[in-house]
């Protein structure tokens, strides 16, 4: 066969493949690419609605090899990393790819929700021993799947807190330079105490008194550990780890020299627009609400339980709400670094106002007009074990510089809809997870344990009113 005949055959085959791929029943995800290469500008309500709809399609899509699912030559690592050896199976429940759709795990009580023990994931750096086939905690940290409701507000809170903390640092540096004296400043934002920072006149910072935040003073509000900066970063990490779908803003030519880093013969599997759609869907999930079952005595018990929740000190970390100044969500955001798009990496960010969404109007405001986000959390990390309590210390590995027994305060909104509990879904009841608290929560845990049975029950009644609407 001459090269002309060969070319003709290839062209025919390509046309046939293209035609088949365009059929409504094609085994691929049509929403991929639907948002364009990038999403930018201030979105109208209609544009946002369309983006969210595309994001939902991408969230529930069961990705196929025709989309680029699978990563035969790449590990689950957040930094593009080649496998050392080929693997026999494209999917692995442990080291991944381990999910067909985002909604495979984020599904309780509805899509975007949490996962029960069945949907646990295995967090591993993916560098050494990346292809583990065991649940032994020396290879990975087994984690429950978190829900995503209210995630947009969580990220906005974290961005504002990061800006506050870094502003405190900057002011201290300027003052130290100006005065020629070291400055020790309290790192507090939105009523949450992150310890102290001391800076010297020459610009050297002493981080030894930081509490619950990374040394770059970035609040990373996502994951059980509080090590993920943004929904965008989370999305890119998860698409690679769980599906083998590699967004080109991290795995593409710019950073790897190839458009097919995972060597599945599918180039540029996800563009920035696809990631933006997924972010938009997650960022606009409604906030969990309070619902008291119409059962006699529950309302009274819940009211009593909420008082006890405060009086026992649980609310010192599970803070009922944090105030948010601006509901405008910019994507990409201000904090991510190269490998995840940030606002400096694009011509114009996509910007949407979460206050335009129906659920937002239900949120209370404080006297400053700030929206009170009822997360029941503080976006801070705490030590969760001590000599008398090791139940939450069942991991062996630190994650991204955070020790094995340190976790971010779980936001309790939606907790009534997301059993089981704990970072590994080890606890089937709220009572048992509360009693498992230790370390920084020792005092509060003991206060709960010392309550009469009826009061402990009341607190459970209260917590069960914090639900995700179905």
């Amino acid at each position: 066969m001459g090269w002309k005949q060969l070319a003709a055959c290839l062209a025919t085959a390509f046309v046939a493949t293209t035609a088949l791929a365009a059929e409504p029943w094609a085994e691929k995800t049509n929403a991929l690419g639907a948002s364009g290469k990038e999403v930018s500008g201030k979105l109208t309500a209609a544009e946002l609605e369309k983006l969210i709809a595309t994001g939902e399609e991408l969230f529930i899509a069961r990705y196929t090899v025709n989309d680029g699912a699978g990563r035969p030559a790449a590990t689950q690592a957040i930094v593009p990393t080649k496998r050392r050896h080929p693997v026999q199976n494209a999917f692995s429940r442990t080291s991944g790819a381990d999910g067909n759709a985002c909604s495979s795990c984020h599904r309780e009580p509805v899509v975007g929700g949490a996962g029960d023990f069945t949907a646990n994931v295995f967090a591993s750096e993916g560098f050494e021993s990346a292809d583990f086939d065991t649940t032994d905690p020396q290879f990975s940290s087994e984690r429950g799947t978190n829900h995503l409701f209210g995630a947009g507000l969580i990220e906005l809170l974290a961005r504002e807190m990061t800006a506050d903390l870094q502003s405190i640092r900057r002011d201290a540096l300027l003052e130290a330079h100006k005065s020629g004296k070291s400055q020790r400043v309290k790192l507090e934002t939105k009523g949450v105490d992150f310890g102290w920072l001391t800076v010297e006149p020459d610009g050297i910072a002493d981080m030894s008194e930081l509490d619950g935040v990374d040394m770059d003073l970035v609040i990373r509000p996502f994951s059980q550990k509080g090590v993920i900066t943004s929904l965008r970063q989370f999305t890119i990490n998860a698409m690679n780890q769980h599906h083998g779908m590699q967004p080109n803003e991290r795995y593409g030519k710019r950073w790897t020299g190839t458009d097919d880093f995972d060597e599945d013969n599918f180039p540029d599997e996800m563009n920035a627009g696809d990631v933006s759609a997924l972010v938009a869907w997650q960022a606009t999930r409604p906030v969990p609400t309070r619902q008291v079952p119409d059962i006699e005595g529950w309302a009274e018990a819940a009211a009593r339980g909420e008082e006890l929740f405060n009086s026992t000190g649980c609310s010192s970390c599970h803070m009922e709400s944090l105030p948010l100044k601006s509901p405008v969500f910019d994507d990409p955001g201000p904090v991510d670094v190269s490998g995840t798009l940030n606002r400096d990496q694009v011509k114009e960010v996509a910007s949407y106002d979460l206050s335009l969404l129906p659920w937002f109007k239900t949120l209370p405001r404080n006297e400053k007009g700030e929206v009170l986000v009822p997360l029941f959390g503080d976006l801070k990390r705490h030590t969760m074990t001590d000599a008398r309590g090791e139940e939450l210390g069942n991991e062996l590995m630190a994650q991204r510089f955070v020790d094995r027994n340190i976790f971010m305060t779980a936001e309790l909104w939606g907790v009534g809809s997301t059993a089981p509990y704990g970072h590994r879904n080890d606890f089937t009841t709220l009572d048992s997870i509360i009693l498992a608290h230790a370390g920084d929560a020792r005092e509060q845990r003991d206060a709960f344990a010392d309550l009469p049975e009826a009061d402990r029950s009341a607190m459970i009644a209260f917590l069960k009113t914090l639900v995700i609407e179905q």
């Binding site: 690592a77 930094v79 593009p80 610009g203």
Partner: protein
């Protein structure tokens, strides 16, 4: 493939011959795969930044033209001392706002006019361990050591340090702290002896190694003569064989020596330096050696060396097939695409003339890049007249990709010395090039150019070491930075390049990594604990400290 091998053999054969080497008739970029990473956009702004400075003078200043980058006022921003040849050398204090336009203010070096003139190069090194950076001025005539004081003040310290500046034509320098020594060993490389019969051909002055004598302060009264010497234009202390003991790598200009070659000297403890010989594996190589840059490109602990010359730049790696402990090198410049043998723009097909060379990651993608200053010696007709500086960006294909034109550094100047350094503390490396009979070029790295402006490059990390009371800047230390499965290594050095040196933060490009782990092998060989740090930060590692400290620049 056969054609490729033939070309390589041709290049290797020519490398030892007496004509300018040109690897092939094709531009190396034609064969290379396209570069897909960020090309840094380098904006020239020397005059706007307040630097109006030329390197001038007759034949004696056809070579030299160096600069030193170092902090002389404690603000951790790199200041500059720039040689002027027949013009006065000058000090420029960095006043750049963080991440902003570059800005320098000229400051008096405090020397008489006659000492400010005839300067060919500068190297910074804290000789007396007082944490005020000293400067070694390479001169035509007496070399001068300037002892640094507070707020960028200096005083001549030749007498204080019992250092004889000599009367030679000095063109190269290197320093190292040998084992157990309080003060550094200095190497001084000289060029043509203009007073010898038959000069200039075959009349190279000897080089010297100044070991500190036992005394309370630096005492350099007893130099060793490095004989033979072959008109050395760059020298560098290097641990070529991972022995923990420094050797002295010297690159020499075949234009003037007779019977000479490239050199590698052993420095046995307490004994005179001794040159490696052919019986020990050292292969004779004759080039117009102008500058040395070192990097461990394959992270095997054995450094690679870029040697600039006329025609091909060489990229030497220890030959894996050679017996252990034998300094047998092979040139891999052709296979790596880094020969940079002729101008890449402008159409002049004559060979290039390379001077300063320096490895650095200018686009923060984790791959080391290679900068080479280029420029005709003066009006040598067999060599390119328009000879732009090179920016060879390291690719993920393991090769270098010429990107000087796209980066904006392909200017019609005669480059000599240079410094790749982050002058505005934004994590993106900028570039100073000292030019002959033309103002310096000071390029600010703006990031990657897009159709809407510039976007930041990859993540980065800058590391300052504090080795303690002796050798506070940790000259000779190795820094390992690990992110994921990737480990990068840099060695803190004083010497090399072309008449130019720098001391300060050591820069790493980290691509898409958000975090990294640092380990330091201190100059005496001791390893540090691992330090976990976030990227896009300046960190300071003090020997023995439990954690790395962060430094935050503040615009004044």
């Amino acid at each position: 493939m056969r054609q490729h091998i033939a070309k390589r053999i041709l290049a290797l054969a020519i490398a030892g011959a007496a004509i300018p080497t040109v690897s092939s008739g094709e531009d190396q970029t034609e064969a290379a795969s396209p570069f897909t990473g960020d090309v840094p956009s380098m904006q020239e702004e020397a005059l706007a930044a307040g630097i109006d400075h030329q390197y001038t003078g007759p034949w004696e200043f056809f070579v030299g033209g160096g600069a030193a980058s170092f902090d002389c006022n404690g603000d951790r921003l790199p200041d500059l001392a720039i040689a002027g040849g027949s013009s006065e050398a000058a000090l420029y204090v960095n006043k750049s706002p963080i991440g902003g336009a570059l800005k320098f203010e000229k400051k008096d070096l405090g020397l008489p006019e006659r000492e400010l003139k005839s300067v060919l190069g500068f190297y910074p090194v804290d000789i007396d361990n007082d944490r005020q950076m000293d400067l070694v001025m390479l001169r035509l005539g007496e070399n001068i050591i300037l002892k640094g004081g507070k707020d960028c003040t200096f005083e001549k310290a030749n007498r204080l340090f019992s250092f004889s500046g000599g009367r030679e034509w000095t063109t190269s320098f290197a320093a190292t702290w040998e084992a157990g020594m309080t003060y550094p060993t200095l190497a001084i490389g000289n060029y043509v002896d203009r007073s010898a019969p038959g000069t200039p051909f075959g009349t190279c002055s000897d080089n010297y190694v100044f070991r500190p004598q036992a005394a309370e302060g630096p005492d350099y009264s007893q130099p060793f003569t490095l004989h033979p010497s072959y008109c050395s234009l760059s020298m560098l202390f290097t641990d070529w064989n991972k022995s923990g003991q420094m050797s002295l790598r010297v690159t020499n200009d075949r234009q003037y020596y007779r019977g000479g070659e490239e050199q590698l000297w052993q420095l046995p403890d307490g004994r005179p330096p001794r040159q490696y010989t052919s019986s020990e594996g050292w292969q004779q190589l004759k080039i117009w050696g102008m500058g040395i840059a070192q990097a461990d490109l394959n992270v095997d602990g054995y450094p690679e060396y870029a040697l600039t010359s006329m025609g091909d730049t060489m990229l030497q790696t220890l030959d894996e097939e050679a017996e252990d402990e034998r300094p047998v090198y092979r040139d891999m410049a052709f296979e790596k695409g880094s020969t940079a043998h002729r101008p890449y723009v402008g159409g002049d097909k004559r060979p290039s003339t390379g001077w300063h060379s320096q490895f650095a990651d200018l686009n923060n993608d984790t791959n080391l890049d290679l900068f080479i200053a280029k420029g005709n010696v003066e009006v040598m007709p067999d060599f390119a007249a328009f000879d732009p500086d090179n920016l060879l960006l390291g690719g993920f294909d393991g090769k270098f990709h010429e990107s000087g034109n796209e980066a904006g550094i392909a200017l019609d100047t005669k480059g000599r010395g240079g410094v790749v350094e982050d002058f505005n503390a934004d994590g993106m490396l900028d570039l100073l090039v000292v030019n002959r009979k033309h103002n310096v070029n000071l390029f600010r790295n703006l990031g990657a150019k897009t159709d809407w402006g510039h976007r930041p490059l990859g993540n980065w990390l800058k590391i300052e070491l504090d080795n303690g009371k002796i050798n506070p800047n940790a000259i000779g230390a190795k820094i390992n930075v690990r992110s994921g499965t990737l480990t990068q290594v840099r060695t803190v050095q004083a010497g090399g390049g072309h008449a130019s040196g720098q001391v300060g933060f050591t820069h790493f490009g980290l691509g898409v990594s958000e975090r990294a782990v640092i380990r330091v092998q201190w100059p005496d060989g001791e390893w540090s604990a691992p330090y976990r740090v976030f990227t896009n930060e300046h960190v300071v590692i003090r020997r023995g400290a439990d954690a790395a400290q962060y430094w935050f620049p503040v615009s004044q």
